[in-house]
């Protein structure tokens, strides 16, 4: 078991004939992801890495039964691609594109909510259920099958954390990169709920960063609803206020959204927070041991 995706998940790639789309389709196919279709207007009938290409999402879904779409479309057109996926019958949209205008995302998320379609991203590295399915741009070789669920606002920081876990023989159930934009799809709360209900997840790693109050809200949710152990890390402990740290969402504005506030919120509800990335594996080990002794 896992959350959101597994080896049977049928995946469609929007923008499959583009440079990034075709390159990462190759990587996903090589990982074993069940890529069933690609979409690229005007390119129907072609194949990319032996994957058939369709003109529209609707046609691709009808022909292949794809339920998840991953988007490699330039940012100005990405929100429209999200809408096309939702309208075309896709159930989970993963948007990799970076730099999508916020107002476009507000429109898109409102439509998806109405349709009951889930979204991950935009500006995210995707998600993986190790050994089964990788959707996005994650380096598959660093992941290892196991029982730790992970969610993160940052891509490369996820890779660092995962490789630290894997090096310490701690495998992962599913890892989700939720993206660094101010308005995004699935967030901590929804994923915490999924991991809490996933029988194969025993502990959860939450990697946050400065900006907004999503981490504070997650802490409150953990206190009220999550029984599995959660450990956290917050990037940007030394970031100065008023400077946007790369991610559109990562900015400390008028004294709120700081790492200190987020760390305090987690520690107040019993979630240990690593000050250095390298501390994460030991915190996870301790959490797993505690849970194991409790269940005995």
């Amino acid at each position: 078991m896992s959350i959101l995706i597994n080896k049977d998940t049928k995946v469609l790639v929007q923008g499959i004939t583009g440079r990034d789309g075709s390159f990462h389709t190759g990587k996903m196919v090589a990982y074993g992801t069940n890529i069933v279709a690609g979409v690229s207007p005007g390119k129907a009938g072609q194949e990319v890495h032996n994957v058939p290409v369709f003109n529209t999402v609707e046609n691709a879904v009808k022909a292949t039964g794809a339920t998840v779409s991953v988007i490699f479309i330039p940012a100005p057109l990405a929100a429209d691609a999200i809408l096309e996926a939702a309208e075309g019958g896709i159930k989970l949209v993963v948007c990799i594109s970076e730099g999508v205008p916020t107002l476009d995302m507000i429109k898109a998320t409102a439509y998806l909510k109405k349709k009951g379609v889930q979204l991950i991203g935009a500006n995210c590295p995707g998600l993986i259920t190790p050994g089964e399915s990788m959707i996005g741009i994650l380096p598959g070789n660093i992941f290892k099958k196991g029982n730790v669920g992970l969610m993160s606002r940052s891509g490369t920081l996820t890779y660092l954390m995962v490789s630290l876990l894997t090096d310490n023989n701690i495998g992962q159930s599913t890892c989700v990169g939720i993206g660094g934009d101010p308005v995004a799809g699935l967030y901590y709360q929804e994923l915490l709920e999924m991991f809490e209900n996933d029988p194969d997840t025993e502990a959860i790693v939450l990697i946050g960063e400065i900006g907004g109050d999503a981490e504070e809200r997650a802490a409150q949710y953990i206190k009220e609803h999550v029984t599995k152990p959660v450990v956290a890390f917050i990037a940007g402990q030394t970031a100065p206020p008023g400077k946007r740290m790369g991610h559109a969402g990562a900015i400390i504005s008028s004294g709120s959204g700081t790492a200190e506030e987020k760390i305090a919120a987690f520690e107040a509800v019993g979630v240990p927070v690593a000050r250095l990335p390298v501390e994460i594996p030991n915190l996870v080990k301790a959490a797993l041991e505690k849970r194991l002794t409790k269940s005995k």
Partner: protein, 380 residues
């Protein structure tokens, strides 16, 4: 992207929001001329892209032309939180009866544009938010509806009782929302919105920020950008596909990914070092990007040591290594470099830079400690 108050006031005017008359001045002579032309009580306001101008003494009332000139002399050239005041706005100081706060921003939680309104205007709204959060009405605007008449009226009724003022306010609120959507703003704020003689409502100040991701379709807005020296550097970096923010330390950091770059700064600080910058070279690196990044780091005279931390995903370590070799050849620098490469094609990358005699470390913590040691060695 941020714009100045005088620019925001002009946008408000273009959309028909009542704003008192004003003139932008760069010199004392211009201030004098403006005060004479307005020929009544004026307010002289520093135009800098930072909050808290009033508290810093950057806003002064002037009853006479002589007062206005005196205010201009004090404010022009003044330093406000590190920004030098190069221009002031001389504005008609209308009679103020009561002040309100109204603002639109992005709400991450409801994934919508949020309208905020408070009868506690004129002061720093952040203070009100902390001490008296109930005094701020927050209304998420449904993106499928937009700011309809009834929503604008509903908000106006929270602040005003006089029907003529409710109508004026509702009209202003609708226009603010229209501005927000049409300019791809991230903040549209009027503080204070004030009632004046005859019950007329004015925007006495204006603050607007914009979504950088949408500037490609907002040519007029993009043209209003007036970056300072540091921001010019950041913009230039952006053109090379780099995300750069200058800080005041001495360890130049080159990292791929925003989260990892922040964490790298944190680790450097944790071990007692001081990062000179945030620099994210982004995904899908080309060797040229690394050359540009090295140039950028070297252009900061405070940089004593360079620390490179790459976790290859889309970014390939061999690309980074190739770029580094080219950069070192071109730059012929004495600045010591410590490097950590892992992830995609790390082994190949390490082979490429093997001849460079660079200290190569295995972990982020080691890299930070090594860089700090190098800084200390240079000092001694």
């Amino acid at each position: 992207m941020k714009i100045h108050e005088y620019q925001a006031r002009q946008i408000f005017r273009n959309y028909g929001i009542p704003v008192p008359e004003d003139k932008l001045c760069y010199t004392i002579a211009e201030v004098e001329q403006a005060a004479k032309e307005l020929n009544r009580m004026v307010v002289v306001k520093a135009q800098v892209l930072v909050g808290g101008r009033g508290k810093a003494g950057g806003v002064k009332l002037a009853k006479t032309v002589t007062d206005a000139v005196a205010a201009g002399q004090k404010i022009l050239g003044m330093d406000i939180k590190g920004y030098t005041v190069e221009k002031v706005l001389v504005a008609d100081a209308v009679e103020i009866h009561k002040e309100f706060y109204v603002g639109l921003t992005i709400d991450r939680n409801t994934k919508s544009v949020l309208f905020m309104a408070s009868a506690e205007g004129g002061v720093e709204i952040e203070e009100v938010a902390k001490t008296n959060p109930e005094a701020i009405h927050k209304i998420p605007i449904d993106p499928t509806l937009g700011m309809t008449d009834f929503i604008a009226r509903k908000i106006a009724f929270k602040l005003f009782t006089d029907m003529a003022q409710v109508k004026q306010a509702a009209d202003i609120f609708k226009k603010m929302y229209q501005i927000f959507i049409e300019t791809d703003a991230s903040i549209v704020e009027i503080n204070p919105l004030a009632t004046s003689d005859g019950g007329k409502i004015y925007a006495l100040d204006g603050k607007m920020n914009f979504d950088d991701n949408a500037l490609f379709r907002q040519a007029e807005i993009a043209a209003m950008n007036e970056p300072d020296e540091d921001e010019k550097k950041e913009l230039k970096a952006k053109e090379s596909g780099l995300s750069y923010i200058r800080l005041d330390g001495n360890i130049g950091c080159m990292v791929n990914g925003a989260g990892l770059a922040m964490a790298t700064m944190d680790v450097v600080k944790h071990f007692g070092g001081s990062p000179a910058n945030f620099l994210d070279i982004g995904g899908s690196s080309s060797p040229q990007k690394v050359v540009d990044a090295m140039n950028l780091l070297m252009s900061d005279k405070n940089v004593k040591v360079i620390m490179i931390n790459i976790f290859g995903g889309i970014t390939r370590c061999d690309d980074v290594a190739k770029g580094l070799v080219i950069a070192l050849e071109q730059l012929k620098t004495d600045i010591p470099i410590v490097i950590r490469l892992s992830g995609t094609n790390a082994e190949e990358g390490l082979r490429i830079i093997a001849d460079q005699n660079l200290p190569i470390v295995g972990s982020l913590s080691e890299a930070a400690q090594e860089a700090i040691k190098m800084v200390k060695n240079l000092a001694s």
